[in-house]
């Protein structure tokens, strides 16, 4: 900048006497403004960027709320206007248990989550009395997506306003840096909300669909809360196929279900295979099927803990088959690639069973994921 200004004044000295000093002065002024106020200008530009995203987040939140209210009115046939109740619902919070002394925390967490679930379902039933179990589950999922959108909007707004109040570059930078990822997540929740409201199967349901394709045509029974199991003969082995009970939107309690099946057969299980949708890395193809070991299950960790506890007791080998997709695919209506990957995953499961177990063995196949829009 300085070099440029010097060059400028040198070149212009002779030809235009009266103009050159004005120009030189202006260039110097410009230079000093940027030197001393560069960071402030940067801060303002960042603030504007955050402001733009905040507009979008607000729109997504409001739109989500609108969809929820419309859906409740449409399928719930409420006597009174559900708006006030929905607004109250969107502000619900959950306090996770104290972890200073972590022993036994899983049980506490599970209890809190159970209370939350019951409370939510009761509230949905009050908001929309004319709904069956499937619709209550779908509405609850829809409300949770709206809740997430509301929360994201409020957190970003908090940092935006705080940044504006303090004009601290570092407060604004924090939020500006993670903004692209936050926006992606918000958009994912927004598309999830629509899918939930309509009861469409979502990408996360890939595991549940694998289980559904295996159990279809075989009698199922309830094994744990919102979970069903069916005994399916596969390649001469008996497979206990577990999935959340569809077609309402819920993930069930696969941990409890696996534990129960293991206990019922007194540990006489040759292998457990878990199928789940998993987040892909950028560059990987949607619907890629991969294999590994371990308990393939997300969520707050209660189910994974339970599965690991019960297989440890009997030293049961555990395998995992995952179907890869990104966060947007996981919560929006299921893509064809993922749907097609389900058959590939079933082939993989059969292969694993053939290679690693003997005829007459008992195996557990658990299809993990939200079973919305998928029956059995």
């Amino acid at each position: 900048m300085a070099g440029m200004a010097a060059l400028q004044s040198q070149i212009m000295q002779e030809p235009f006497g009266e103009f050159s000093w004005i120009l030189t002065l202006l260039f110097y002024a410009f230079f000093f403004v940027f030197m001393f106020y560069g960071q402030k200008i940067n801060t303002y530009i960042m603030l504007r960027e955050v402001e733009g995203s905040l507009f979008k987040l607000k729109y997504l939140r409001d739109e989500g709320r609108k969809i929820v209210i419309e859906t409740i009115k449409e399928i719930g046939k409420p006597q009174t206007d559900p708006t006030a109740r929905v607004d109250r619902f969107l502000e619900y919070f959950t306090i996770s248990p104290q972890s200073l002394d972590p022993a036994g925390i899983v049980g506490k967490l599970e209890h809190i989550l159970d209370v939350r679930d019951t409370r939510f379902k009761d509230d949905v039933k009050l908001m929309a009395p004319a709904t069956d179990k499937t619709q209550v589950n779908n509405l609850e999922n829809t409300l949770e997506a709206a809740m997430a959108l509301n929360f994201i909007y409020k957190v970003i707004r908090h940092f935006y306003l705080l940044g504006k109040k303090t004009l601290s570059l570092y407060i604004i930078m924090q939020i500006q840096m993670i903004l692209p990822l936050v926006m992606r997540e918000a958009e994912a929740y927004a598309s999830a909300l629509k899918a939930f409201a309509d009861g469409q199967p979502i990408g996360d349901g890939a595991g549940a669909l694998v289980a559904a394709k295996l159990t279809h045509g075989h009698p199922t029974r309830n094994i744990a809360k919102d979970c069903v199991v069916a005994a399916v003969p596969i390649e001469g082995r008996t497979a206990y196929v577990i999935k959340a009970e569809g077609p309402g939107g819920n993930v069930g309690k696969p941990g409890e279900a696996i534990k129960t099946v293991v206990e019922e057969s007194e540990g006489e299980i040759a292998m457990i295979i878990m199928v789940d949708a998993a987040l892909k890395l950028e560059g990987e193809a949607v619907g890629e099927v991969a294999e590994g070991v371990g308990a393939a299950i997300g969520g707050p960790g209660v189910d994974q803990f339970k599965i690991e506890e019960s297989i440890l007791k009997y030293r049961i080998p555990i395998n995992a088959v995952i179907i890869k997709e990104d966060i947007g695919d996981a919560v929006s209506p299921m893509r064809k690639e993922i749907f097609d990957a389900v058959d590939k995953a079933i082939e993989r499961i059969k292969q694993v069973i053939l290679e690693k177990t003997k005829e007459g063995d008992r195996v557990i196949i658990a299809g993990v994921g939200n079973t919305i829009g998928i029956g059995q």
Partner: protein, 135 residues
């Protein structure tokens, strides 16, 4: 509170605008000088021309960037299709998703053999532009 913050917004944008307009004015001056300098000093004229154009381009770009409001907002509704199949004769039909559809739901009987048909697939198709990258 809200009133205060909205006035702060206008202050920010007016400050940024001021900087942009000063830059724009400077670059325009440079351009005018360049034109008048062409006859007397060729090199200086080219320099001025360059600086003028750069400054003008930069300031208009920033101006449009800040002016640009968020593009039209909407939550996309992807088209989701439902595939219905007859297990007996293999008759297959594809239609748009309707609320209440779910995979493995029995729906109205088959047109050909009066057997109940089954929803076997619900998915959306995404046309992904294949970008050629090295990886």
């Amino acid at each position: 509170m809200s009133k205060k913050s909205s006035s702060a917004t206008t202050k920010i944008s007016s400050f940024v605008l001021l900087v942009i307009f000063i830059t724009l004015a400077l670059s325009l001056t440079a351009l005018i000088l360049a034109i008048s300098a062409f006859s007397s000093n060729g090199i200086a004229a080219y320099y001025l021309l360059l600086i003028g154009f750069l400054g003008a381009a930069l300031s208009t770009y920033v101006l449009f960037q800040t002016r640009k409001r968020i593009k039209r907002l909407s939550i996309k509704t992807p088209s989701v299709t439902t595939t219905i199949e007859c297990r007996k004769c293999g008759f297959k039909s594809v239609r748009d998703f309707q609320r209440g559809d779910y995979i493995f739901r029995e729906v109205d009987p088959c047109q050909k053999c009066n057997e109940n048909m089954l929803i076997t697939a619900i998915y959306r198709e995404v046309e992904e532009k294949k970008k050629r990258t090295l990886f």
